[in-house]
Point group: C2
Chain length 416, copies 2
């Protein structure tokens, strides 16, 4: 039988802790390693100790609130996310995942449930990457994607170093930030969807099967500036018009591939005069697909169609990839634990692929990982308007709690 | 029989006078009412007096170099253009028209030809409008489009007033700047095409039949910002994509109407992040056609198609006209005089409509007017690279000279 968390307590915790960095518009401004980040960490440490947990933090300031299990030989099961926010962030992105982790520990404590492996709620440092780039840097060090020294050397816009700021707020620990040393048996993460799919389909739970692959490109188009009045249409080499035809083609390419998305977020054209045909245009392209091979096909189609358009419209172009992030496939055991939890609770759910990156992308490199999504208002995040329903938060925490217990039971049975 | 100007003298004059404001790259920087503008005017006045002409300038600084005719009762026939340039202008735009006017007077003087009406070479003040907006302000006052006071009150970017600067360079005259007082029987203007049509068709002379109508618009498109990774294509309201489809449609509209042109010269989209679907886009639209009624139809098509695209792509839009310039039809007598001149000289020629505005647009309001175009390199003007062939300049001046003589003969015969 599925157990349930205390939804009222979870909701109060969300509202109460939003005071650290709380904004006039109801959002949260809590950049990594700020005084507000320290304050919410201090509260998290105290809340963990209050229910008898062991608390420690590693060299990157990742905070582990650990409830012991019966079997001391098994690495604990992690429930993690982050407590830092964007500069104009909301109350849910990341925060909800850590607070649900704590709520799971509180529920196990209240109900006297003894698990096989330990269960640890984790606050990963600097997921957002808005003060110190890149994003997800501390889970990245844990997962082996970056070195500790690289992370320490990152500077904020005021040239304050990550390492110095971590020390200043008192969270530079001595436990190695290394998933091969400070191990986890698995990692589960609950997060708001940050997109409109669940809300649009009126489904409260997303069983996240992976994080889609991303590729970023710059495209420049060169034609010839000329006078808008004196140059007949057939003698033009209009860079902006060619770019527009290319952007429409990129949109159509995404529609032709299942689950593909294509976005042009930035466009500039020169010389930028009402009565001059633009001779130059630059735009960015973001292509994504849950499947690396399908994304490769999308890229090939884009290359082919852009070249055809350039030839037809008498311009030259360059289409250059400058960033690649391969797809993450979450672990079947973790996905199955979440699905069993959903089934036991009888909640409407669907499988979903995350469009955005999360700490779980890096934990997945070293341990079985998956995620749970809940809907958020209008699919909006990284915004003070970010919002989620109390009932959805509670249902999500219930799914998380039982998924962890399912995985723990599987660990106990020795099946991997 | 057609008479011929002195092509070598004309070419020398073009090269010699380019020293006033001459740039390192071979262009000319001679904004209206600058010291260089004064210097070239002083030279023009002296050159006119040297061949026995009467020289005067009006309240707007328009300089008239007048060769007397037999019939003192007839207003003179004007040959005008301008000696000012853009900040990074060339040696030909406007300048060529005034120097060809002088070359016609010199040729009549050399060959002792007595005309019926007087012939006057005119330098119109501040055609370019780059230092003092708007463009063609002094021919505009002469033609009744602006008041003298309006022109005097115009300020340059350093807040120097047109009236003060005109006085400072010594060209604020007392002759009324009023085409109903200081009359012309007709106005002819030779100009580089500023477009690629003649060069493309390898035709040295354009018989200009009018100046096309122009309408300018702002278009704003509003959708919804959203995450490039988490928002499926069918749930997007992508303002930039919709704008691109609109821009392609505007291009197609121009292609469907004879001699229509459509240009989007400025585009901006927000918020301008690689991984955010833009929720807002603004672009400008410039529609032109030689015929006002056809332009009206082009506008109606644009309104209809943009609205359809907005509905289909789930965005809202505003398409607002903010400037209208009706078509100018040049006078049949002047067009016919140019055509007769071309025929007599045996030059290849075609009729053409000017895509850009000229002083002749305003003279046409008060007297029969037409223009002669010659090719320019790559259709480029308002640029230090601006260039024209010596042979084309000479042929253009020959056409201008004989056109004036044809019109003068017609005046003498009493036919209007």
């Amino acid at each position: 039988m599925a157990i349930k968390v205390n939804g009222d307590r979870l909701w109060s915790t969300i509202q109460d802790t939003a005071k650290w960095g709380g904004t006039a518009k109801g959002g949260v401004c809590r950049p990594a390693l700020s005084d507000d980040d320290r304050a919410v960490r201090d509260w998290f440490v105290a809340a963990g100790r209050e229910i008898g947990c062991e608390v420690f933090w590693d060299e990157l300031g990742n905070v582990f609130v650990k409830r012991q299990g019966k079997n001391k030989d098994l690495p604990p099961i992690g429930i993690g996310s982050h407590l830092d926010t964007q500069f104009t962030g909301g109350k849910f992105d990341g925060i909800l995942g850590v607070l649900c982790g704590l709520e799971v520990l509180r529920t196990l404590h209240d109900q006297g449930i003894e698990t096989n492996a330990g269960i640890v709620a984790v606050c990963w440092t600097n997921e957002e990457g808005c003060r110190f780039t890149p994003a997800m840097v501390a889970s990245g060090v844990w997962g082996g994607a970056f070195t500790k020294e690289y992370a320490y050397s990152r500077e904020d816009p005021q040239h304050l170093r990550f390492g110095d700021e971590l020390e200043r707020i008192g969270y530079k620990g001595t436990v190695p930030c290394d998933g091969n040393v400070n191990k986890l048996s698995a990692h589960f993460e609950l997060h708001i969807e940050q997109g409109p799919v669940l809300e649009d389909e009126k489904i409260p739970i997303g069983v996240v099967v992976g994080v889609q692959a991303i590729r970023w490109y710059n495209c420049t188009v060169t034609g010839q500036d000329c006078h808008a009045g004196t140059t007949p249409m057939h003698l033009r080499r209009n860079a902006l018009h060619a770019a527009c035809v290319m952007i429409d083609a990129l949109n159509s390419i995404a529609l032709r591939f299942s689950q593909g998305v294509s976005t042009v977020g930035v466009i500039e054209s020169k010389p930028g005069s009402v009565n001059t045909v633009p001779g130059f245009c630059h735009f960015t392209v973001d292509l994504r697909n849950p499947d690396d091979e399908v994304l490769e096909e999308m890229e090939k189609e884009a290359e082919k169609e852009l070249a055809e358009i350039a030839t037809r419209l008498k311009v030259t172009h360059k289409f250059e990839r400058f960033w690649t992030c391969p797809a993450t496939k979450f672990h079947p055991d973790c996905i199955s634990a979440v699905q069993k939890s959903v089934d036991a609770l009888g909640y409407p759910a669907r499988t979903i692929t995350s469009g955005a990156g999360h700490d779980s992308v890096y934990t997945a490199k070293l341990c079985p990982t998956s995620m749970v999504f809940i809907p958020c208002l209008d699919g909006i995040s990284h915004n003070e308007r970010e919002s989620a329903e109390k009932v959805d938060c509670e249902m999500g925490a219930n799914v998380l709690c039982n998924a962890v217990l399912h995985f723990d039971a599987q660990l106990a049975s020795g099946k991997k």
